[in-house]
């Protein structure tokens, strides 16, 4: 065959997986921050931020992640910006993540019963006080499980960034497959790698969901 050993394959894939984890974390943290901004814009009383946030969410949920990455990556060079695959990947996934998290969280805020708004309003609280003391604490508890569940989508979404040349798990896999002529073995291991990252997250999300429905979970 050639001089690439199984150990070399595994070692390189682990390296790639590290980049996948790094990219996922970056997108999740930055996307979470941007998602919070979107959430507050979406539930604002003023219609202007509400509509802007809605347009943003519709653009990023209504187009494929791959197109978003292409536009950032190639669009950057078109206007003379040299954007590295890492920056394009991180930026693209952050925007994608924020659009989904913002919307998931809005759903959680809106699932707090209307009576909670009425009761706090009748106690003369302002909108901000109602949010801070009554609505958000309840929405937060509802949000944990779907947020962790969505993190699985972010991890899998990182695979798309291989197409713009960012060397994460999938890209490492295709380079190794070309070099070793063993695509089944290599991509089998790649899939295993994604499963090892995602399964604990989705299992954790399921546990959280059960806890929230089953008990008060203070």
């Amino acid at each position: 065959m050639n001089d690439i050993s199984y150990w070399d394959i595994v070692r390189n894939l682990l390296d790639g997986a590290l980049w996948t984890v790094g990219l996922s974390l970056t997108a999740f943290i930055l996307g979470g921050i941007a998602g919070l901004v979107l959430l507050f814009a979406r539930i604002a009383q003023n219609p202007i931020p509400r509509r802007l946030a809605q347009a943003y969410i519709e653009v990023f949920q209504g187009t494929p992640l791959l197109m978003q990455l292409f536009i950032i990556f190639f669009g950057g060079s078109l206007i003379g910006l040299e954007i590295s695959p890492w920056i394009a990947a991180a930026l693209g996934l952050t925007l994608f993540t924020s659009a989904y998290l913002g919307e998931i969280w809005r759903g959680c805020v809106e699932s707090v019963p209307k009576g909670q708004w009425e009761a706090s309003a009748s106690l003369a609280m302002t909108h901000v006080e109602q949010m801070r003391h009554v609505i958000l604490p309840q929405a937060l508890r509802i949000a944990i499980a779907p947020t962790v569940g969505f993190s699985v989508q972010v991890v899998k979404g990182t695979a798309v960034t291989s197409i713009i040349g960012f060397v994460e798990l999938t890209k490492t896999g295709s380079m190794l497959a070309n070099a070793t002529y063993q695509p089944f073995l290599v991509f089998g291991l790649v899939a295993l790698g994604y499963f090892a990252l995602c399964y604990p997250l989705s299992a954790y999300s399921r546990i959280l969901e059960r806890n929230i429905h089953g008990s008060r979970a203070h």
Binding site: E118, A124, M125, E129
Partner: protein, 242 residues
Amino acid sequence: MALVHIDALHKHFGSNHVLKGIDLDIEEGQVIALIGRSGSGKSTLLRTINGLESFDDGCIEVDGERIHPHETDLRALRQKVGMVFQQFNLFPHLTAGQNVMLATRIVKKMPDAEARDLAKAMLLKVGLQDKFDAYPDQLSGGQQQRVAIARALAMQPRVLLCDEITSALDPELVNEVLAVVKNLAAEGITLIMVTHEMRFAREVGDKLVFMYQGRIHEAGDPQELFANPQTPELASFIGSIN
């Protein structure tokens, strides 16, 4: 001067004219029972008094706080008007004590210790002094409703609105809540209650207001109205619930 003064109040839900010119004066210390069929506008009327429902025309004045149609700043009014809901609406993430303390701390900026003492006193008033640290889901429906009453009272409102506060309760829990309300009435708190508890309305109410198709159809002394309804609509309503 009446404590609550409602003048020519109109409200539409879309094309549906739900309040068709309500005039009502409520004196300090009075207990008002609002009765009528569902859809007669009684709950809507109650909810306009603390601004949970807007209105289209007319005016409401509570203890000198006057609100006009489409008013958005209702905080001053709401500090004078407390409300208890059919579904309790306790804050499930807070204990009974924290439920009662929250608004006094946040809205009235009361120091923590003082708010805590007040909350304890309010829970004592509704007979739940030993439930300060219990979460709402550890309490029965009747207990939750009593906490909700304590929460409203802690803000020391001039008027307490009660929106069918026993309708969501199991029959054996109704009396403990009514007993609390009866005590409040005896203390002289001004109460406006939408209720289906006719015996209670007759016993405790100072004034009965019968709503029919968005208007006050008949109003007066509860004993008299029950014994001697002036309109066929009230007679048929009394007949239908007994």
